[in-house]
Amino acid sequence: MRTGWLAAGLVLLAAAPAEAARIGEMVEWDFGAQAARFFSLQDPSVRYALGGSMLLGLCCGLMGAFLVVRKLALMGDALSHAVLPGVALGFLWGMTKNPAAIFAGAVGAGLLGAVVVQWIRATTKHREDAALGFVLSSFFGVGIVLFTMIQNLPGGAKSGLDGFMFGQAAALGPEDVWLLAGVTVLALGAVGLFYKEYVLTSFDEGFARSLGWPVKLYHYSLMLLLAFAIVSALQAVGVVLVSAMLIIPAAAAFLLTDRMGAMLAWSAGFGMLAGAAGAFFSFTGRSLPTGPFMVLAAAALFVLALLFAPRHGIVGRLWRRRSRAARIRRENTLKAIYHVMEDGGFREEVVAVDGVAARRHETAAGAGREIGELQRAGLATEADGRVAFTPEGRQRACEIVRNHRLWELYLTNAAQLAPDHVHEDAEVIEHVLGDETVRRLERRLNFARRDPHGKLIPGLADLAGGPPPTARVAGFGGKGGAP
């Protein structure tokens, strides 16, 4: 990769005088007017730039999704660099930027690169990474040499080929857009028609072959479509960064969903969005290269997905951890209130906040905050330094105490642990025991009434929301207890 950048830098140096002139122009560039022109879509060149960039995003997003799930992301990188000599040869063929000649040359060079990768893998002891690295850098090097030669030819400096390096969406012409549209239709058609074939051969090649499928045919058709996508995208996004448009939208989509179909849709959508953003900046910034902006837009989408994806996102995970921590804190407060009531023989329906604070080893203010949380969750009410359960809070408290004591009993009975070894474990488990596990524990323990410390285990009637504890002082474990 580093050699690639160095070589690209050299080309930029060679083109430095031209660049300097453009930057001079940019100072007088009116961003607002240019943005207005962009959004009005009146100008055909805007329509070509926007349409072409979005088509390339769609196409690359689609192909990139398959690369990412096949763990072939580097293949896209190598292939996209390998096409560069083909672009130069396509130009040299007629000394013009004929899209057809450049397309043919680039696809040819890309496929040659893929063949060389296969050949190195098959005939040497090198793995794929070394082969990809070799093809990527050496093909790119050849391409840079050819580009520099073209620049030095008479008329070569105005070839417009430097747009292929970092992309120039504003330079897209109708032929380029038609090419992109054709490739996109081809890719959509192939993926739509052979969706199940492409998914199965990507997921489980051995199984697909056991069905008698021509797995190689599907693989190479996908690689050919990939080469088409890369080559048709070159003019807009550039050789150096086209692989990013393959990988980043797909990688962001992978974080958002667990289904292939949805991943394809997200990936294509992200690609289109990034393409549109790249076209906008390329047009408003005039001679700014498109590729980097397109890739930065895609990268921003990736970061958003990384942060906010519902299941795999960092924010979601932190939020769930936080809310789990908050739930455990609430449950511990409920349990403390229950314990205070139990100590009082359930004669009181309300208990003092001070008592709860002592039980929680908290200051009065700390306990007050915890009880405030219970109030907000509708589990308890507090007035005048005294706290009372709501029906839901009482049920939840009974469940927690029950979970705790059942687990202690289970550990002492079934796991043969001493009664003074089980409390810590139960403190953790009580918050995560599911209903079904509780039922199984009960059956296993023959619906026992007392925990290893001789405390009563709240019964089913308490959980079902029977009369409040004060009305049934003997209710816990009494006649109204577990069946």
Binding site: V199, D204, G206, F207, S210, L211, T257, D258, A262
Partner: protein
């Protein structure tokens, strides 16, 4: 005449099968016939070529010599009658598909290119998932499954193939006891319905109970036949050599049997 022949041909016939990796042979000259309706275990030490045999039979590895007949014909002719359960490690479990998607893949062999599975295929897939007690997990991404659950998903996919001959690569490797019991019940049920099942198995101590025929393999075919005839101290010794300490225990327990 032809039809008559194909119905009487054994599900699997292998002749002089030889497979080499990098010109280094790993299986030599294996001759094997698996009769219809049998539950056959392929056993042998690590590196004996058990999985290689299965893959070669399925055409996943090139043969250096020999031939394979499935129901008297080629695999391609009988692909729909042949089901496959690959090793669990052979796929990427982070792949964005859910349990139902994977089981539906079992129907793909019955669908022409470009055709998606339909309602009838979904019904079959649901029934197969139910058979391995995985229906409640149908919508889960496959990465969120335990080892045993993953194995059961693969089995459900194979059931959905509705084949007559099944090849299973180490279905018992690394699964919990409950799954192991569920799998062996399923295999016996399949046998009772006339299916032929060939299983690569690594655990010598359960091989005798699980299979009615055994193939003893160690780069060459040591023996193949009904378990009672083949599971003998001499043949096991010949298969495993001195390589396995568990062998002496098994051989000893054989001696204690009446």
């Amino acid at each position: 005449m032809m039809k008559d022949f194909s119905t009487t041909a054994p599900p699997l016939e292998v002749h002089d099968l030889t497979v080499a990796y990098d010109r280094r042979p790993v299986l030599y000259g294996v001759d094997l016939t698996v009769p219809a309706g049998s539950l056959t275990g392929i056993i042998g030490p690590n590196g004996a070529g058990k999985s290689t045999l299965l893959k070669a039979v399925l055409g996943l590895l090139p043969l250096s010599a020999g031939w394979v007949k499935i129901f008297g014909g080629t695999l391609a002719q009988n692909a729909r009658r042949t089901g496959y359960v690959p090793q669990r490690e052979s796929v990427d479990w982070d792949f964005p598909v859910n349990v139902m998607d994977v089981v539906l893949m079992g129907r793909y062999g019955h669908l022409p290119p470009g055709r998606r599975p339909g309602r009838a295929d979904r019904e079959i897939a649901r029934a197969c998932l139910d058979q391995v007690q995985m229906l409640p997990l149908a919508k889960r991404q496959i990465g969120n499954l335990s080892g045993g659950q993953r194995q059961r998903v693969f089995l459900a996919r194979a059931l959905a193939q509705e084949s007559d001959l099944y090849f299973m690569d180490e279905p018992f490797a690394g699964v919990d006891a409950a799954t192991e019991a569920a799998i062996i019940n399923l295999l016996r049920e399949m046998k009772a319905r006339g299916k032929t099942v060939v299983v690569v198995h690594h655990d010598l101590s359960t091989a005798r109970d699980y299979f009615d025929r055994l193939v003893l393999l160690n780069m060459r075919l040591v023996a193949a036949g009904p378990t009672a005839e083949v599971f003998t101290p001499e043949l096991l010794q010949k298969t495993y050599g001195g390589r396995l300490t568990i062998l002496s225990d098994v051989v000893q327990s054989l001696g204690e049997e009446p």
